[in-house]
Protein backbone atom coordinates (compact mmCIF):
# COMPACT_ATOMS: atom_id res chain seq x y z
CA UNK A 1 0.00 0.00 0.00
CA UNK A 2 1.24 3.50 -0.56
CA UNK A 3 0.56 6.10 2.11
CA UNK A 4 1.33 9.61 0.97
CA UNK A 5 4.89 9.01 -0.23
CA UNK A 6 5.63 6.08 1.99
CA UNK A 7 5.10 2.39 1.52
CA UNK A 8 3.79 0.49 4.49
CA UNK A 9 3.76 -3.27 4.77
CA UNK A 10 0.43 -4.61 5.98
CA UNK A 11 -0.74 -8.15 6.46
CA UNK A 12 -2.62 -9.85 3.64
CA UNK A 13 -5.94 -9.91 5.53
CA UNK A 14 -5.73 -6.22 6.18
CA UNK A 15 -4.96 -5.40 2.59
CA UNK A 16 -7.84 -7.65 1.54
CA UNK A 17 -10.23 -5.91 3.95
CA UNK A 18 -9.13 -2.54 2.61
CA UNK A 19 -10.19 -3.47 -0.88
CA UNK A 20 -13.79 -3.98 0.18
CA UNK A 21 -14.07 -0.61 1.90
CA UNK A 22 -15.19 2.63 0.32
CA UNK A 23 -15.81 6.27 1.20
CA UNK A 24 -15.82 7.07 4.93
CA UNK A 25 -14.91 3.56 5.98
CA UNK A 26 -11.88 3.62 3.74
CA UNK A 27 -10.85 7.04 5.02
CA UNK A 28 -11.07 5.80 8.61
CA UNK A 29 -9.06 2.72 7.71
CA UNK A 30 -6.33 4.83 6.17
CA UNK A 31 -6.34 7.21 9.11
CA UNK A 32 -5.95 4.37 11.64
CA UNK A 33 -3.14 2.91 9.60
CA UNK A 34 -1.40 6.30 9.47
CA UNK A 35 -1.62 6.74 13.24
CA UNK A 36 -0.19 3.26 13.73
CA UNK A 37 2.60 4.08 11.30
CA UNK A 38 3.44 7.27 13.18
CA UNK A 39 3.66 5.43 16.48
CA UNK A 40 5.66 2.53 15.05
CA UNK A 41 7.96 4.84 13.18
CA UNK A 42 8.28 7.52 15.83
CA UNK A 43 11.69 6.37 16.90
CA UNK A 44 13.17 7.31 13.54
CA UNK A 45 14.51 10.82 13.48
CA UNK A 46 14.33 12.56 10.15
CA UNK A 47 17.28 14.84 9.85
CA UNK A 48 19.09 16.41 6.92
CA UNK A 49 22.34 16.50 8.83
CA UNK A 50 25.07 13.88 8.45
CA UNK A 51 24.24 10.52 9.97
CA UNK A 52 21.13 10.27 12.07
CA UNK A 53 21.93 12.72 14.86
CA UNK A 54 19.03 14.80 16.07
CA UNK A 55 19.19 18.45 16.91
CA UNK A 56 21.63 18.70 19.73
CA UNK A 57 25.18 19.48 20.71
CA UNK A 58 26.82 17.50 23.48
CA UNK A 59 30.33 17.29 24.76
CA UNK A 60 32.47 15.90 27.53
CA UNK A 61 35.98 16.94 28.53
CA UNK A 62 38.44 15.64 31.10
CA UNK A 63 40.28 18.12 33.27
CA UNK A 64 42.63 17.93 36.21
CA UNK A 65 40.61 16.12 38.84
CA UNK A 66 37.32 15.53 37.06
CA UNK A 67 35.17 15.66 33.97
CA UNK A 68 32.72 18.17 32.61
CA UNK A 69 29.79 16.92 30.59
CA UNK A 70 27.64 19.47 28.78
CA UNK A 71 24.82 19.97 26.32
CA UNK A 72 22.48 22.53 24.81
CA UNK A 73 18.81 22.51 25.81
CA UNK A 74 16.77 22.42 22.64
CA UNK A 75 14.43 19.62 21.60
CA UNK A 76 13.13 19.96 18.07
CA UNK A 77 10.51 18.19 16.03
CA UNK A 78 11.52 18.32 12.40
CA UNK A 79 13.67 21.32 11.52
CA UNK A 80 11.27 24.08 12.35
CA UNK A 81 9.49 23.49 15.64
CA UNK A 82 11.23 23.73 18.99
CA UNK A 83 9.29 21.44 21.28
CA UNK A 84 11.31 22.36 24.35
CA UNK A 85 13.67 25.26 25.03
CA UNK A 86 14.98 24.01 28.34
CA UNK A 87 15.28 20.26 28.25
CA UNK A 88 18.06 18.69 30.27
CA UNK A 89 19.88 16.07 28.23
CA UNK A 90 22.32 15.11 30.96
CA UNK A 91 21.03 12.00 32.68
CA UNK A 92 22.42 10.77 35.97
CA UNK A 93 22.85 7.00 35.95
CA UNK A 94 24.71 6.81 39.26
CA UNK A 95 26.20 9.08 41.93
CA UNK A 96 29.25 10.06 39.94
CA UNK A 97 28.30 8.86 36.45
CA UNK A 98 26.33 10.86 33.88
CA UNK A 99 25.21 10.19 30.33
CA UNK A 100 24.21 12.41 27.52
CA UNK A 101 22.43 11.31 24.43
CA UNK A 102 22.71 11.94 20.74
CA UNK A 103 19.98 10.60 18.56
CA UNK A 104 16.40 9.61 19.09
CA UNK A 105 15.16 10.82 22.48
CA UNK A 106 12.80 7.91 22.85
CA UNK A 107 15.51 5.31 22.29
CA UNK A 108 17.86 7.18 24.59
CA UNK A 109 15.37 7.30 27.44
CA UNK A 110 14.65 3.59 27.10
CA UNK A 111 18.33 2.66 27.09
CA UNK A 112 19.31 4.91 29.99
CA UNK A 113 16.42 3.64 32.12
CA UNK A 114 17.56 0.09 31.55
CA UNK A 115 21.19 1.01 32.16
CA UNK A 116 20.35 2.84 35.41
CA UNK A 117 18.57 -0.25 36.70
CA UNK A 118 21.31 -2.69 35.70
CA UNK A 119 23.98 -0.40 37.08
CA UNK A 120 22.39 -0.02 40.50
CA UNK A 121 21.87 -3.77 40.68
CA UNK A 122 25.51 -4.33 39.76
CA UNK A 123 26.60 -1.80 42.32
CA UNK A 124 24.65 -3.55 45.09
CA UNK A 125 26.09 -6.93 44.13
CA UNK A 126 29.66 -5.59 44.09
CA UNK A 127 29.04 -3.59 47.29
CA UNK A 128 30.91 -0.62 45.87
CA UNK A 129 30.25 2.28 43.52
CA UNK A 130 30.33 1.16 39.89
CA UNK A 131 33.16 1.89 37.52
CA UNK A 132 32.50 4.40 34.72
CA UNK A 133 33.62 1.71 32.33
CA UNK A 134 30.96 -0.61 33.71
CA UNK A 135 28.27 1.96 32.99
CA UNK A 136 29.60 2.51 29.49
CA UNK A 137 29.81 -1.24 28.95
CA UNK A 138 26.18 -1.71 29.86
CA UNK A 139 25.19 0.96 27.32
CA UNK A 140 27.38 -0.71 24.74
CA UNK A 141 25.80 -4.11 25.30
CA UNK A 142 22.36 -2.61 24.86
CA UNK A 143 23.34 -0.62 21.75
CA UNK A 144 25.23 -3.47 20.10
CA UNK A 145 22.66 -6.19 20.72
CA UNK A 146 19.81 -3.96 19.52
CA UNK A 147 21.65 -2.14 16.78
CA UNK A 148 18.91 -2.78 14.19
CA UNK A 149 16.20 -1.07 16.21
CA UNK A 150 18.05 1.68 18.04
CA UNK A 151 19.27 5.02 16.78
CA UNK A 152 21.06 6.58 19.67
CA UNK A 153 24.66 7.14 20.67
CA UNK A 154 25.87 8.05 24.15
CA UNK A 155 28.61 9.86 25.92
CA UNK A 156 29.22 8.42 29.39
CA UNK A 157 31.42 10.40 31.73
CA UNK A 158 32.18 10.22 35.40
CA UNK A 159 34.60 9.61 38.19
CA UNK A 160 35.51 6.37 39.94
CA UNK A 161 38.06 5.28 42.51
CA UNK A 162 40.02 3.03 40.15
CA UNK A 163 40.85 5.29 37.21
CA UNK A 164 39.62 8.73 38.23
CA UNK A 165 37.87 10.88 35.65
CA UNK A 166 36.96 9.08 32.41
CA UNK A 167 34.96 9.64 29.26
CA UNK A 168 33.55 6.86 27.09
CA UNK A 169 31.67 7.22 23.88
CA UNK A 170 29.27 4.54 22.63
CA UNK A 171 28.48 5.16 18.99
CA UNK A 172 25.45 4.14 16.95
CA UNK A 173 26.46 0.57 16.13
CA UNK A 174 27.78 -0.21 19.58
CA UNK A 175 31.48 0.68 19.51
CA UNK A 176 32.99 1.69 22.84
CA UNK A 177 35.87 4.14 22.90
CA UNK A 178 37.66 6.02 25.66
CA UNK A 179 38.72 9.58 24.85
CA UNK A 180 40.09 12.61 26.69
CA UNK A 181 37.38 14.78 25.14
CA UNK A 182 34.51 14.11 22.79
CA UNK A 183 31.70 15.94 21.03
CA UNK A 184 28.46 14.69 19.51
CA UNK A 185 25.13 15.64 18.00
CA UNK A 186 24.30 17.62 14.88
CA UNK A 187 25.94 20.80 16.19
CA UNK A 188 29.23 19.06 16.82
CA UNK A 189 30.34 19.23 13.16
CA UNK A 190 30.81 23.00 13.50
CA UNK A 191 33.14 22.79 16.48
CA UNK A 192 35.54 20.00 15.52
CA UNK A 193 38.11 22.58 14.48
CA UNK A 194 37.61 24.60 17.65
CA UNK A 195 37.94 21.70 20.10
CA UNK A 196 40.88 20.16 18.21
CA UNK A 197 42.70 23.48 18.44
CA UNK A 198 41.76 24.49 21.98
CA UNK A 199 41.90 21.27 23.99
CA UNK A 200 44.87 20.78 26.28
CA UNK A 201 45.29 17.75 28.56
CA UNK A 202 45.15 18.53 32.32
CA UNK A 203 43.31 21.83 32.18
CA UNK A 204 42.11 23.48 35.37
CA UNK A 205 38.40 23.59 36.24
CA UNK A 206 38.07 27.22 35.08
CA UNK A 207 39.81 26.54 31.76
CA UNK A 208 37.69 23.46 31.15
CA UNK A 209 34.48 25.32 31.98
CA UNK A 210 35.42 28.13 29.60
CA UNK A 211 36.33 25.59 26.92
CA UNK A 212 33.00 23.78 27.21
CA UNK A 213 30.89 26.92 27.36
CA UNK A 214 32.64 28.44 24.36
CA UNK A 215 32.38 25.25 22.32
CA UNK A 216 28.67 24.85 23.03
CA UNK A 217 27.97 28.54 22.37
CA UNK A 218 29.79 28.37 19.02
CA UNK A 219 27.87 25.26 18.00
CA UNK A 220 24.55 26.75 19.08
CA UNK A 221 25.40 29.83 17.04
CA UNK A 222 25.75 27.87 13.82
CA UNK A 223 23.36 24.92 14.23
CA UNK A 224 19.71 25.88 14.07
CA UNK A 225 18.53 22.74 15.87
CA UNK A 226 20.77 23.37 18.88
CA UNK A 227 20.10 26.25 21.22
CA UNK A 228 18.63 27.50 24.45
CA UNK A 229 20.82 27.42 27.53
CA UNK A 230 24.03 25.58 28.25
CA UNK A 231 23.80 22.75 30.80
CA UNK A 232 27.08 21.70 32.38
CA UNK A 233 27.68 19.03 35.01
CA UNK A 234 31.04 19.03 36.75
CA UNK A 235 31.91 15.63 38.25
CA UNK A 236 34.79 15.29 40.70
CA UNK A 237 35.61 12.95 43.57
CA UNK A 238 34.08 15.35 46.05
CA UNK A 239 30.84 16.40 44.38
CA UNK A 240 28.58 16.73 41.36
CA UNK A 241 27.73 20.31 40.39
CA UNK A 242 25.10 21.30 37.84
CA UNK A 243 25.75 24.67 36.20
CA UNK A 244 23.31 26.39 33.87
CA UNK A 245 24.52 29.23 31.66
CA UNK A 246 21.51 31.18 30.37
CA UNK A 247 21.37 32.71 26.88
CA UNK A 248 22.30 36.24 27.87
CA UNK A 249 25.41 35.07 29.76
CA UNK A 250 26.80 33.05 26.86
CA UNK A 251 30.06 34.28 25.31
CA UNK A 252 29.57 36.47 22.25
CA UNK A 253 31.76 36.29 19.17
CA UNK A 254 32.89 38.78 16.60
CA UNK A 255 29.77 39.09 14.49
CA UNK A 256 27.26 39.35 17.36
Amino acid sequence: MRLANTSVAVSDERAHTAQSLSGDAYATFIHDLYVEFLIMDSHHSYSQVKGVSTGTTILAVKFNGGVIIGSDSRASMGESYVSSKTINKLIQVHDRIFCCIAGSLADAQAVTKMAKFQLSFHSIQMESPPLVKAAASIMRELCYNNKEELQAGFITAGWDRKKGPQIYVVSLGGMLLSQPYTIGGSGSTYIYGYVDAKFKPDMSLEEATQFSTNALALAMGRDNVSGGVVHLVVITEAEVKHVVVPGNKLPKFHDE
Partner: protein
Protein backbone atom coordinates in the same frame (compact mmCIF):
# COMPACT_ATOMS: atom_id res chain seq x y z
CA UNK B 1 24.18 16.55 -7.00
CA UNK B 2 26.69 13.93 -8.05
CA UNK B 3 25.21 11.45 -10.50
CA UNK B 4 26.25 7.89 -9.81
CA UNK B 5 25.24 4.47 -10.90
CA UNK B 6 24.08 2.47 -7.96
CA UNK B 7 26.36 -0.32 -9.09
CA UNK B 8 28.07 -1.30 -5.92
CA UNK B 9 30.05 -4.34 -6.99
CA UNK B 10 33.74 -5.16 -7.11
CA UNK B 11 33.98 -5.33 -10.88
CA UNK B 12 33.75 -1.54 -11.15
CA UNK B 13 36.08 0.50 -8.94
CA UNK B 14 34.42 3.38 -7.16
CA UNK B 15 36.20 6.09 -9.12
CA UNK B 16 34.86 5.02 -12.51
CA UNK B 17 31.35 5.95 -11.48
CA UNK B 18 31.79 9.12 -9.49
CA UNK B 19 32.04 12.66 -10.71
CA UNK B 20 35.27 14.49 -10.04
CA UNK B 21 34.67 16.78 -7.08
CA UNK B 22 36.70 19.33 -5.24
CA UNK B 23 35.31 18.22 -1.87
CA UNK B 24 37.39 20.80 -0.22
CA UNK B 25 38.12 23.50 2.29
CA UNK B 26 38.53 27.07 1.06
CA UNK B 27 38.83 30.30 2.98
CA UNK B 28 39.31 34.02 2.46
CA UNK B 29 39.95 36.83 4.97
CA UNK B 30 39.95 40.61 4.48
CA UNK B 31 42.62 42.72 6.16
CA UNK B 32 43.64 46.36 5.96
CA UNK B 33 45.23 46.63 2.53
CA UNK B 34 44.19 43.35 0.92
CA UNK B 35 42.96 39.81 1.31
CA UNK B 36 44.44 36.44 2.25
CA UNK B 37 43.01 33.41 0.49
CA UNK B 38 43.71 29.74 1.10
CA UNK B 39 42.69 26.25 0.04
CA UNK B 40 43.61 22.61 0.51
CA UNK B 41 44.83 20.61 -2.50
CA UNK B 42 42.73 17.45 -2.79
CA UNK B 43 40.51 16.54 -5.75
CA UNK B 44 38.58 13.30 -5.37
CA UNK B 45 36.68 10.93 -7.64
CA UNK B 46 34.77 8.99 -5.03
CA UNK B 47 37.41 7.40 -2.82
CA UNK B 48 40.29 7.97 -5.25
CA UNK B 49 42.30 11.16 -4.95
CA UNK B 50 42.59 12.26 -8.56
CA UNK B 51 44.93 15.13 -7.79
CA UNK B 52 46.70 15.56 -4.46
CA UNK B 53 48.38 18.86 -5.37
CA UNK B 54 45.45 20.75 -6.93
CA UNK B 55 45.54 24.50 -7.21
CA UNK B 56 42.08 25.71 -6.25
CA UNK B 57 43.07 29.37 -6.17
CA UNK B 58 42.35 30.53 -9.70
CA UNK B 59 43.28 33.97 -11.04
CA UNK B 60 40.39 35.82 -12.68
CA UNK B 61 42.24 39.07 -13.18
CA UNK B 62 45.50 40.60 -12.04
CA UNK B 63 44.33 41.27 -8.47
CA UNK B 64 41.18 39.13 -8.32
CA UNK B 65 41.15 35.43 -7.48
CA UNK B 66 38.49 32.85 -6.89
CA UNK B 67 38.54 29.82 -4.58
CA UNK B 68 36.69 26.86 -6.07
CA UNK B 69 34.67 24.14 -4.35
CA UNK B 70 32.12 21.63 -5.62
CA UNK B 71 32.30 20.01 -9.03
CA UNK B 72 35.75 20.45 -10.54
CA UNK B 73 34.36 20.63 -14.08
CA UNK B 74 31.66 23.16 -13.25
CA UNK B 75 33.96 25.49 -11.36
CA UNK B 76 36.65 25.39 -14.03
CA UNK B 77 34.11 26.18 -16.74
CA UNK B 78 32.57 29.05 -14.77
CA UNK B 79 35.96 30.50 -13.88
CA UNK B 80 37.04 30.40 -17.53
CA UNK B 81 33.86 32.16 -18.65
CA UNK B 82 34.14 34.85 -15.99
CA UNK B 83 37.82 35.41 -16.76
CA UNK B 84 36.90 36.12 -20.36
CA UNK B 85 33.98 38.41 -19.49
CA UNK B 86 35.96 40.34 -16.89
CA UNK B 87 38.95 40.77 -19.20
CA UNK B 88 36.71 42.18 -21.89
CA UNK B 89 34.96 44.49 -19.43
CA UNK B 90 38.29 45.75 -18.10
CA UNK B 91 39.49 46.64 -21.62
CA UNK B 92 36.25 48.48 -22.32
CA UNK B 93 36.54 50.39 -19.03
CA UNK B 94 40.27 51.01 -19.49
CA UNK B 95 40.90 50.45 -15.78
CA UNK B 96 41.19 47.64 -13.24
CA UNK B 97 37.85 45.90 -12.65
CA UNK B 98 36.12 45.96 -9.27
CA UNK B 99 36.08 42.81 -7.16
CA UNK B 100 32.34 43.31 -6.84
CA UNK B 101 32.02 43.13 -10.62
CA UNK B 102 33.82 39.80 -10.72
CA UNK B 103 31.63 38.50 -7.91
CA UNK B 104 28.54 39.70 -9.73
CA UNK B 105 29.55 37.85 -12.89
CA UNK B 106 30.00 34.66 -10.88
CA UNK B 107 26.64 35.18 -9.27
CA UNK B 108 24.88 35.75 -12.59
CA UNK B 109 26.16 32.47 -13.93
CA UNK B 110 25.70 30.45 -10.76
CA UNK B 111 22.14 31.67 -10.28
CA UNK B 112 21.01 31.37 -13.90
CA UNK B 113 22.25 27.81 -14.19
CA UNK B 114 21.65 26.83 -10.59
CA UNK B 115 19.85 23.58 -11.47
CA UNK B 116 22.70 22.30 -13.62
CA UNK B 117 25.65 23.49 -11.56
CA UNK B 118 27.25 22.37 -8.32
CA UNK B 119 29.65 25.18 -7.48
CA UNK B 120 30.52 27.03 -4.29
CA UNK B 121 32.89 29.90 -5.01
CA UNK B 122 34.63 32.55 -2.93
CA UNK B 123 35.75 35.62 -4.91
CA UNK B 124 38.46 37.73 -3.30
CA UNK B 125 40.78 40.47 -4.40
CA UNK B 126 41.91 44.07 -4.20
CA UNK B 127 40.76 47.08 -6.17
CA UNK B 128 41.69 50.75 -5.84
CA UNK B 129 38.17 51.85 -4.95
CA UNK B 130 37.31 49.62 -2.00
CA UNK B 131 40.57 47.86 -1.07
CA UNK B 132 40.53 44.20 -0.06
CA UNK B 133 37.16 42.49 -0.38
CA UNK B 134 35.77 38.96 0.01
CA UNK B 135 32.50 37.93 -1.63
CA UNK B 136 30.97 34.50 -1.24
CA UNK B 137 28.81 32.88 -3.93
CA UNK B 138 27.60 29.57 -2.45
CA UNK B 139 25.58 26.81 -4.16
CA UNK B 140 22.31 28.30 -5.36
CA UNK B 141 23.73 31.58 -6.54
CA UNK B 142 23.41 34.12 -3.74
CA UNK B 143 26.19 36.66 -3.31
CA UNK B 144 27.21 38.44 -0.16
CA UNK B 145 30.28 40.28 1.12
CA UNK B 146 31.83 38.96 4.33
CA UNK B 147 35.00 39.92 6.22
CA UNK B 148 35.84 36.24 6.52
CA UNK B 149 34.37 33.37 4.55
CA UNK B 150 34.88 29.60 4.51
CA UNK B 151 33.52 27.12 2.02
CA UNK B 152 33.57 23.53 0.83
CA UNK B 153 32.84 20.28 2.63
CA UNK B 154 35.55 20.84 5.22
CA UNK B 155 34.22 24.24 6.21
CA UNK B 156 31.52 22.80 8.52
CA UNK B 157 34.21 21.64 10.93
CA UNK B 158 35.83 25.04 11.32
CA UNK B 159 32.89 27.39 11.77
CA UNK B 160 33.41 27.29 15.52
CA UNK B 161 37.14 27.92 15.19
CA UNK B 162 36.72 30.79 12.73
CA UNK B 163 33.90 32.42 14.76
CA UNK B 164 35.99 32.38 17.90
CA UNK B 165 39.37 33.33 16.44
CA UNK B 166 38.55 36.03 13.90
CA UNK B 167 39.05 39.63 14.97
CA UNK B 168 38.57 42.70 12.82
CA UNK B 169 41.81 44.58 12.13
CA UNK B 170 44.26 41.67 11.98
CA UNK B 171 47.56 42.19 10.19
CA UNK B 172 48.63 40.31 7.06
CA UNK B 173 50.80 37.86 9.04
CA UNK B 174 48.04 37.20 11.58
CA UNK B 175 45.61 36.50 8.73
CA UNK B 176 48.06 34.08 7.10
CA UNK B 177 48.52 32.21 10.39
CA UNK B 178 44.77 32.18 11.06
CA UNK B 179 44.01 30.82 7.57
CA UNK B 180 46.71 28.16 7.68
CA UNK B 181 45.55 26.93 11.08
CA UNK B 182 41.88 26.85 10.13
CA UNK B 183 42.59 24.94 6.92
CA UNK B 184 44.81 22.46 8.77
CA UNK B 185 42.08 21.75 11.32
CA UNK B 186 39.54 21.18 8.56
CA UNK B 187 41.90 18.94 6.58
CA UNK B 188 42.42 16.82 9.68
CA UNK B 189 38.70 16.12 10.06
CA UNK B 190 37.35 16.14 6.50
CA UNK B 191 38.15 13.09 4.36
CA UNK B 192 37.66 15.07 1.17
CA UNK B 193 40.21 17.72 2.12
CA UNK B 194 43.94 17.23 2.46
CA UNK B 195 47.33 17.50 0.86
CA UNK B 196 49.10 20.83 1.10
CA UNK B 197 47.84 24.28 2.06
CA UNK B 198 48.03 26.85 -0.71
CA UNK B 199 47.91 30.50 0.36
CA UNK B 200 47.92 33.78 -1.54
CA UNK B 201 48.01 37.42 -0.44
CA UNK B 202 46.42 39.95 -2.79
CA UNK B 203 47.12 43.63 -2.23
CA UNK B 204 47.99 46.82 -4.07
CA UNK B 205 51.51 45.46 -4.57
CA UNK B 206 50.26 42.39 -6.39
CA UNK B 207 49.93 38.69 -5.54
CA UNK B 208 52.28 36.66 -3.33
CA UNK B 209 51.70 32.90 -3.31
CA UNK B 210 52.98 30.29 -0.91
CA UNK B 211 52.62 26.59 -0.21
CA UNK B 212 52.77 24.89 3.17
CA UNK B 213 53.72 21.23 2.78
CA UNK B 214 52.30 18.43 4.92
CA UNK B 215 55.13 18.18 7.42
CA UNK B 216 55.22 21.95 7.92
CA UNK B 217 51.53 22.33 8.78
CA UNK B 218 50.75 23.70 12.26
CA UNK B 219 50.37 20.98 14.86
CA UNK B 220 47.65 20.87 17.47
CA UNK B 221 48.23 19.51 20.93
CA UNK B 222 46.88 16.06 21.51
CA UNK B 223 48.41 13.70 18.98
Amino acid sequence: IVSTFNNYNDLYPDWTQREVSTGTTIMAVEFEGGVVIGADSRTTTGAYIANRVTDKLTPIHERIFCCRSGSAADTQAIADAVTYQLGFHSIELDEAPLVQTAASLFREMCYRYREELMAGIIVAGWDPRRGGQVYTVPVGGMMTRQPVSVGGSGSSYIYGYVDSNYRAGMSKEECLKFTAEALTLAMERDGSSGGVVRLAVISEQGVERQVILGNQLPKFSTV
